[in-house]
C-alpha cells in the first residue's frame, strides 16, 4: 500500500480484479502520454505514470479506479517524491474529506 499525497494505491491480486473492470476501455493518456491518476483543477499538478499499462475507470464514481502495470512504473507528482511501483494490479483511491451533508474529494 502506497500513499502519494491524496492518492492511496493498494495492490490487488490479479484474480481479484473483476472481469467487468478488465473489460473497461483504458482511460486516455494525457498529451505527454501519461496515465493521470488524479489532476488538480487549480494547479494542474498531476499524479501520473508514464510506464506501459492501463488505467481503468468505471463509470460509477464510487467504484475505485484500477491500474495495471505489467512491468511496474514510477508514480510522479510535482510536489511529492517519486514512488516506484512494482508490476501488478492496483486499486487507486482518492482522498476525500468530510463535509456535513456531503462528501467531497480532497485538494492536494
Amino acid at each position: 500500500m502506497y500513499r502519494q499525497g491524496d492518492i492511496l494505491i493498494m495492490p490487488v491480486p490479479e484474480e481479484e480484479v473483476p472481469q467487468a473492470v478488465r473489460d473497461l476501455p483504458p482511460a486516455p493518456r494525457d498529451d505527454r502520454g501519461r496515465m493521470v491518476l488524479a489532476l488538480g483543477e487549480a494547479t494542474g499538478h498531476a499524479h501520473a505514470i508514464a510506464a506501459p499499462g492501463e488505467l481503468l475507470r468505471d463509470s460509477d464514481p464510487l467504484v475505485p479506479d484500477h491500474l495495471h502495470l505489467p512491468s511496474g512504473g514510477r508514480l510522479v507528482h510535482e510536489e511529492h517524491a517519486v514512488i516506484s511501483l512494482p508490476k501488478g494490479w492496483f486499486r487507486v483511491v482518492r482522498q476525500r474529506e468530510y463535509v456535513p451533508g456531503a462528501i467531497r474529494v480532497v485538494a492536494d
Binding site: 502506497y2 500513499r3 511529492h80 482522498q95
Partner: protein, 381 residues
Amino acid sequence: MQTTTSSPSRGDVTLAWQATAFSAGPTGPGEHERAETAVRAAYAAAGLAPPERVVWVPSPAHGTIAAALIAGHREALEKAGLQEYTERLAPLIALPGGAGGSVREAVRTLPWEKARTAASSELGPREWAHVWARTGGRLWNQVNDLVDRVRRAIGELAGDDAEATALLRGATLDAVLGQHDAPFLALADHLGRLDGDGHPGDALSAMAEVARNAGWWWPYERIAILSERPAELHRDEPGRLHRGDGPALAYSDGFSLHAWRGMPMQAGFIESLTDLTPARIDAEENAEQRRVMLEIYGYDRYLAETGAKPQQRDSTGVLWRIPVRDDEDVVMVEVVNSTPEPDGSYRTYFLRVPPRTLTARQGVAWTFGLDARDYTPQQQT
C-alpha cells in the same frame, strides 16, 4: 455515424472541453469573428438564412434581458427596475419587422437529438451509458452547477418581482449554452462527430466552434445574440467556485457570483472578514457562515488561540475537535506531508472527518474509505 469509442492518439478530449467550459478572459476580435462564422454555419446547417445582425453582449445577464425584450417583456422588466439594461439593449436589437422567432430548436435541439439517437442506437444503451459516463458525465455536475447558479443569479436581478424573475428564468432556458454545452460536445468529440478546429461543417461542429469562442447565445430568425465569456473564473482544487478576495465568477459588465469552496456567499461577506477573532466567529448566528469564518481564519490558529487540546495522537497524525454551537462538532485530523517543502520544513494540513471519529488513524483511514486496521501504507511521499 462513426462508432469508434476511443481514439488514443487525440488524448483526453474531455479535458479539453473541460478547459473550454471554464475558460475566461477577454473575448478578442479573433474569437468574435470565429464565433460569428460558426453561428452562420449553424444556421446554414439547419437550412436557415444567416442572421442579418449579430449582437455581442458582455454577459449572459445582458443576453437574457435582450431575449426577454425580444419576447416583448420590456414593460415587466422596467417595472422590476431593469431599465438600465433595457435602454442599453433596446437599440441593439431593434430591427424593422422584429427579430423573428427563436430558432434554437432548429439550430441546437434537433441536430443534437438526431446525433444522439443515431449514436445510442449504434452503440446500444449499455455502451451509450458508458461512453457518456467517461466523457460528458465527468463534466456534467460541475458545468451544470455553474449554469444553475448563473440562471439563479440572473433571476435575482429582478429583486423580489416574482413575474420578472420568472420571465428572466424562462429566457435563460432559451439560450444555447456555448462554452457550457461542453459535456455534450465532449461526447460528440469523443465519438468523432466534430470537424477539426476552425472548420465548422455540420450543425454539431458549428455549435462546438461557437462554444470554443463564446458564452451563451440566443439564435433568432433575423438576429443572433452572443454573450462573451466571463472575464474571471476562480475555482479550488476540487473544481468548485472559490475566491476569498472578490467574485469567483465575473463578467466584464459586473455581473458576478461570489462563492467560498462552492458555497454561495453574499458579495462582500468574505472581504468583511479581515478582523476575525475567535470571539467574533463564536458570535456569528448563521452556522454555515460560522464554518466559513472558521476555515478562513484557519483551524490551526483557532485551535492555538482558543487553547484547544488534541483529542488523540498516533503515528498517522493528531485528532482535534472543535465544538460548534447549533451544529455538529468539527473533527479534524492534522497530518504532516511526507515530502519536505523546498525550505526543508514539512507542511501540515487539516482534513475534516466524520464527528464520530475517535482516533487520528481512524480518521485518515476514513479519508481513503478504509477501516483503521486496514490502513497500512508501506511508503508515503
